[in-house]
Symmetry: C2
Subunit: 218 residues, 2 copies
C-alpha cells in the first residue's frame, strides 16, 4: 500500500535492489513463491524491512501467498519512475567505458547505457560496444535528443566540476559520481551520490575484525 509520507532514502535504495532482484527472477523464469521472507533471505535484509519498504509502493501483496512476480516488478518500476530498460549516460575515458561494460552489464539490471562521452577529445568517434563515443561538447545535443535524466560520472578528478556543470545544462538531474573528489560543491538542483572509493578503502583498512558488514546506504 502506498503511504502518504515519502519513503526514507534507505528504503528507496532497497526498493531499487528489489527491482533488480525481481527482474532477475523473471528473466530466469523463476516460479517459486515470492514472499518477504524469501526476498529478505536472498538479499540479506530482514523480512520486516522488506514488508515495510514495500508498503511505500502502490501495490498490495497477498496475505498467505506473497507477491506476484510481474505485478511487483511493474509496481516497483512505477514507484522508482523507471522505464523497462532505464536509460543513462556515462562520462569517462575510453578504457574505462570498455572495462565498465564487462563489469556492469546494465541490461541484466534493468538499465541501458544510451550514450558514452569521453573527457579526451581524441577519443571522440571510436566505438565502445554498441555505442559511439562522443565529445563532451556534444552533451547538450545528445542528451536532449535521447531524453535521458541520469549519468554515471567517471572522469578524472580535475574535470568533475566542469562535467557536472555541462550535464546539468544538458538536462541531467541525477548523477552517480565514481570519481573521487573531496570537494562537495555541485550544481544547484542536481541530485548527486558519491561513491568515495579512497575513503571506503581506508575505512576497510581500519575496520577491526568484522564478522559481517555490507554497506553503501547511498
Amino acid at each position: 500500500m502506498s503511504r502518504s509520507s515519502r519513503a526514507p532514502e534507505a528504503s528507496v535504495l532497497r526498493l531499487s535492489r528489489y527491482h533488480c532482484y525481481v527482474g532477475e527472477l523473471i528473466a530466469s523464469r523463476d516460479d517459486q513463491r515470492l514472499t518477504s521472507q524469501r526476498i529478505a533471505s536472498d538479499l540479506g535484509v530482514s523480512e520486516e524491512a522488506v514488508r515495510r519498504d514495500l508498503s511505500f509502493v502502490d501495490f498490495e501483496g497477498r496475505p498467505g501467498a506473497g507477491y506476484p512476480h510481474a505485478e511487483l516488478h511493474e509496481a516497483l518500476g512505477r514507484f522508482l519512475a523507471l522505464s523497462s530498460q532505464h536509460p543513462f549516460v556515462v562520462v569517462g575515458n575510453r578504457a574505462l567505458l570498455e572495462g565498465l561494460e564487462i563489469m556492469f552489464p546494465a541490461a541484466e539490471f534493468g538499465l541501458r547505457a544510451v550514450a558514452y562521452f569521453s573527457e579526451n577529445p581524441a577519443e571522440a568517434g571510436v566505438r565502445v560496444g554498441d555505442l559511439e563515443v562522443h565529445d563532451l561538447s556534444e552533451l547538450d545535443a545528445v542528451v536532449a535528443s535521447l531524453g535521458v535524466r541520469i549519468a554515471l560520472v567517471a572522469t578524472a578528478p580535475a574535470l568533475v566540476q566542469d562535467t557536472l556543470t555541462r550535464l546539468k545544462r544538458a538536462g541531467i538531474d541525477g548523477a552517480l559520481m565514481l570519481t573521487p573528489v573531496l570537494d562537495t560543491r555541485h550544481p544547484e538542483g542536481m541530485n548527486i551520490t558519491h561513491f568515495r572509493i579512497p575513503c571506503t578503502l581506508k575505512a576497510l583498512a581500519s575496520t577491526p575484525v568484522a564478522t559481517t558488514a555490507c554497506g553503501c546506504k547511498a
Copy 2:
C-alpha cells in the same frame, strides 16, 4: 581525545575523508588555520560532527587555535591503521584497470595500487601504468609477498564469488565491490562494502526534485 567505545561506522567513513583532505592540504603547502569549522565547510558536514568524529582519535586539538596539519594527519592515519601510501590490489579486466588509473589517481588520496589482476587469463603479463597484470592464479603468491590486506573488486558479476574466495584465501580481509551483484553471500570473516551502481542509478532516477543530496554512507 580517544574514547573507550568504538567509533560508529559513519564516523570512520568521515574520518577517512578527513585523512584524504588533510593529506591534500599538506601536499599543497596550505598554512591557513585548520579548524573544525573550516573542515566542515570544505567537506559539507556540520562542524559539531567534525569535532565529535575527531574525539575518537587519539589526538588533541588546541582550543582557540584548531588542529595542526601534520599531527592531525598522522593521528588519523594511526587511527585508521594506514601506512603513508596504503597498499591495495585491484581485480578486474585490463581496460578497466587502465581507465581506473585516470579516474582514480590513488597516490593523491594517500593510497597505492600495488598489484593488478585480470579475470581474463589472456591479459596476464601486459603492463598497465607501472604495474604488470597478473593472472588470478597468482593471487596467493603476490598478496603474500606484498603483505597487502585490501582489494578493489571489479570483475564480471559471474566471477565475483570465485574472486572473493581466492582473495580471502590469499589473506585479503577487506574488499570494496564495484561489480554489481544482488547476492550477498561472501566469505566468512571478510569485510565487504558494496557500491551498488544499478541500485543507486535507479534510486537517482526516482528521487523527486532534490535540493541537496550527497551520499554514500558506506
